[in-house]
Amino acid sequence: MSATKRMFTIIAVLTIVSMIVTACATATPAPATQAPVAPAQPTATTAPAQPAATAAPPALTIPDIQQGKFNVAVVLVGFHADGGWSQAHTEAAQWLTTQDPTIAVAYLDTVNPGPDAESAMRQLARKGFDLIIGTTFEYGPTMDTLSQEFPKVNWLHVSGYRNNSTNYGDLFGSMEQMKYLAGMVGGARAKADGNTKLGYVAPWPLPEVIRLGNAFMLGVKQTCPECTMEVRWINTWYDPDKEKQAAQSLLDAGVDIVLVGSDTPGPLTAAANAGKWAFTYDYINSCQPASAKCLGTPYWNWGPAYLDIIKQIRAGTWKPKFDFRDAAAGIVGFYGFMPGQTPQPGVPKDVIPQVQAKLADMLAGKFTDQDIFKGPLKDNTGKIIIPDGKTLTVEDLFGIDAATIKSSNLTGYTPCTYCMNWLVDGIQGTIPAMSSQ
């Protein structure tokens, strides 16, 4: 009697499920007419965080290439309008098309590392994309495989260190410089408020996260030598609830300034609602939710680096490598201090010239991460971790040790000496053991 009806219902439900699942990974070709916040000259202070409101073509997950153009596909680990890491990449990709009309850009949203990423990237390669950009460390093994399988396609891996010498390179930037500037601002703010406790919402106990926290603390020391920083490890990059809980936990422990190392602006709203301060991360407009209480944003500016690499590929001169760029190359910025921006209202007036001078040195290449992490440097147990006169190599900064080299089968690296697995003096806490990575 009701058997056909039930069958119909089940089919209907399954159809809905499949539609939703495919919609979640919708490919959206970025329209060339879109004019997002130009990453090279981040101007507007009040530019709304209006994401690319494109009518997403449903169903088809893998976009087509545009004939006669240089086709770039950006594979995102998160949602393209996440207000953080993925949005910074998306807007950089859209910016490319405004710079050079012969570049066509498409992006894929929320692609999980592992089999999903492998399938998506393989299909992109088969479609004939000229350059495929993967935007998370976890895509590494997938891109290792596919770069061999598709030698004619160019592969760019953001935030990794695996590469080959022909068609597979890595790209990253010295965000620690911007965190150092943020630290200078934070220290000055703490001093002005008379509370020397700062806090760090730290995603994972990885060398990158540790390095950025250390650089921030070293910046704080420049303007407030007696300041200290607490850490809350949350073991996730993106978990809106947990990020906010961590910030709340810091605030309740008496912290007045929160440094966000994870992806959402939740900690900022938590801080603002308590009348306290925060630094957001990743995306130029991430101060937006509570701008009055946001002291600044160390943000990524991938556009110029992408464009530069694309130009090299098209000219046939690209030498893939671990391309680690610093502030002088324009890959990172500190919101409020870059050309055309004004410091956030919460930044103490007297520290502004000091930060501007340091930034000018960084942009001129005179103050690099070699100068941030320079011996003699003590860790938070009082031990000298970097002896006098020594600086850090890329392997040290990224914690590439003998075990990593062996397990990831890396070539061209020497194991680190001062591997980034220590917290500098002033940070209260320890680094939890990483169970796997």
């Binding site: 965080a49 609830d241 936990s249 991430s286 939710p289 680094i431």
Partner: protein
């Protein structure tokens, strides 16, 4: 750290637990009503997401938090209506439909919520309480509302005639039907009520407990609510304690990292945080194992007709 500071910190943590437990409480009690009427709703997470997104959107357009909460309830209810239609009228599998509704809710909130990511957020009104000092008036109001709502829900369920009807529909629908209770209408009503409460929980998150909208705002709290229903043994009053307890568990691993506390080395073990995240599910598995014995299940209070579509005039429940 002095004793007074320690007390203040502990009270602040408790307040935080009550705040973050409140959305869980609404969703849990809503789901208890739905399951007590015999319909399992695994779409809670989707309804919370839609509630959080629509509530934030309405606040953003109107600037009225209360209107946002009502909108969150309305859209949660709308999604629940879909679930009710599929499971009660069309008699499809409740688990499959619930999962589909979750996918639908998270997809919809993700797409429609796009313009609201990273926008300005509602401003709380600060008030001063003894010892723990400054808190947001809205959060306090949320806690008080939850503390009034749950006993009322318990009273309705256990001490009133409509509550009796509701329970009988979930226990023995054909018997209830023979007594003149409209099984379909009753089930529709409470599934929609459950959806509205989930929507309210979501909207409370995006407007009060953690203002702002981002993709995946509820971080899986909807699933925890589903687990808590079993953990609370389908009782709204027990729902209060378990919701606040799990609200506390979400904060505690972070608070134990405070260097002023002597527990730093233990607390910094990342497995501790993961273990605490798992606890609601572990507890649920434990309860399910206990409940696999018929006698024990009866004592726990699982509605007998839960998950079984009612067909008028057919044999069985």
């Amino acid at each position: 750290m002095t004793a007074n500071e320690l007390i203040a910190l502990a009270l602040t943590i408790v307040f935080g637990a009550l705040v973050s437990g409140s959305p869980l409480l609404f969703a849990t009690v809503g789901e208890i009503f739905s399951e007590r009427a015999g319909v399992m709703n695994l779409g809670i997470e989707g309804m919370m997401l839609v509630g959080a997104m629509s509530g934030f959107a309405v606040w953003f357009k109107t600037g009225d938090v209360l209107l946002g909460l009502i909108a969150g309830m309305a859209f949660g209810a709308l999604l629940a209506l879909l679930h009710a239609l599929i499971t009660i009228t069309l008699r499809a599998d409740q688990v499959v439909s619930g999962l589909a509704v979750t996918f639908l809710g998270s997809g919809l909130s993700s797409i429609l919520g796009q313009p609201y990511v990273g926008q300005r957020t509602p401003q709380p009104t600060p008030i001063v309480l003894p010892i723990i000092e400054q808190v947001a008036a809205q959060q306090l109001a949320l806690i008080i509302f939850g503390l009034i709502f749950a006993p009322l829900a318990w009273f309705y369920l256990h001490r009133t005639r409509p509550g009796l009807n509701l329970r009988s529909v979930g226990e023995y629908p054909s018997a209830a039907d023979s007594l003149g209770i409209n099984v379909y209408r009753t089930r529709y009503l409470y599934v929609i009520f459950g959806g509205a409460m989930s929507g309210l929980g979501g909207a409370a998150m995006s407007l009060i407990t953690d203002p702002g909208w981002v993709d995946g705002k509820t971080s899986g709290l909807g699933w925890i609510a589903v687990a808590l229903v079993i953990f609370a043994a389908w009782d709204p009053m027990r729902g209060v304690w378990v919701s606040y307890f799990f609200g506390l568990l979400r904060r505690l691993p972070l608070d134990l990292q405070n260097p002023a506390l002597p527990l730093i080395s233990t607390a910094n073990n990342p497995s501790l945080g993961r273990l605490m995240d798992m606890l609601p599910y572990l507890a649920t598995i434990f309860i399910l194992i206990l409940g696999s014995r018929e006698a024990m299940r009866k004592r726990l209070g699982s509605p007998a007709a839960l998950g079984i579509p009612y067909v008028r005039g057919e044999r069985g429940l």
